[in-house]
Symmetry: C2
Subunit: 206 residues, 2 copies
């Protein structure tokens, strides 16, 4: 039962402040794509430096240049980095090789991944796959729905996309290992309290 706090559209100090508030309730902390693209890998470095005992996810959304990008993330302190499932398979495979070498993990974001790649990804061992309804799908009026397909038992499942107290019961049907929560915690008046409520609600559903 892992809650991953996603930090997006903040400055690095704001992100650190929010994560400090929710620290006791979340196991994993995600340095969001927007932080990496806005401030570079120092966002990963500073957040890992402040939370050395948390698992830090660099949501770098690699689509190419896998070795360079994954090494940047791992060298900056990330424990897990993300690659797009829609990328060429050679890129995903390269991410896996780099992660193995660094003894770190890969999260494969399944957003808009085609059938061919999905099929190949199903056979990958020891990865976290992320079912993801994107920000744009949520905010710009697309009608994405959760993909209910089962994932293999040798993979961990993360779910992301506007997750809040109200969406928990439906999401729990997918039996996720990792619940990626962004604004329901980060935009709450009291991020710690919000994280606690989500965690308790999730525990009751288990």
């Amino acid at each position: 039962m892992i809650i991953q706090l996603a930090l997006d559209r903040f400055s690095i100090p704001e992100a650190i402040e929010i994560a400090s508030g929710a620290e006791a309730e979340v196991e994993w902390i995600e340095v969001g794509t927007s932080l990496i693209k806005e401030f570079g890998v120092k966002s990963i470095y500073e957040i890992k430096n402040r939370f050395p005992n948390k698992t830090i996810i660099a949501d770098v959304k690699t689509f190419d240049n896998a070795k360079y990008e994954f090494e940047l993330c791992f060298n900056a302190g990330a424990d897990i980095a993300t690659v797009m499932g829609a990328a060429p398979m050679v890129t995903i495979e390269t991410c896996l090789e780099v992660a193995k070498k660094y003894e770190k993990k890969v999260m494969i974001d399944l957003l808009n991944t085609g059938e061919d790649n999905r099929h190949t990804i199903q056979h990958l061992q020891d990865v976290i796959v992320c079912k993801h309804i994107s920000k744009d799908q949520q905010e710009e009026g697309d009608r994405a729905v959760w993909d209910q397909e089962k994932i293999p038992s040798y993979q961990q499942l993360a779910v992301a996309g506007g997750i809040s107290l109200t969406s928990l019961p439906e999401l729990n049907k997918m039996n996720p290992d990792v619940l990626i929560v962004g604004s329901a915690i980060s935009k709450a008046k009291d991020p710690g309290q919000a994280a606690k409520e989500i965690k308790e609600a999730w525990r009751k559903l288990k």
Copy 2:
């Protein structure tokens, strides 16, 4: 006839030095994905600041959070920003809206784009589409080939992927508007001379 110099896997000062050497021969300068992810949008800002009269491309490879990322790039001085053709269409459409508002342009990177999205992208007016053999496909042993499908007359075509003097004749058959060149210029002993030779060779083929 546009040469776009792609700057990747360099520090910002190195990138500026290389671009200075090739300045007279290239029309467009690309702030590569690796610069954005390593150093953030200040890489765009510093390169535009040094080359205010060049068209600056931010290769931000947006896959989600289109409004935020494209505004970051345009506010940092980019004239063109990139979105992945493999992203949800709502993301690509949001990029187009933001670019229109800022009177800037969108380059759609067709790397690993599925049939559905390709079909929809074909109908988009006033965009640059980029046929792209990725770094990982070049370096990690995949066997990608150039997609020879014609693009509509109302779109501009850019081509990217290990382009050098030797690949020019084959590429020219696609009649590209923009030739994206990376290491054949940036890793040359004399980037200016290398850019000049590529430009002259391309001119002779025209």
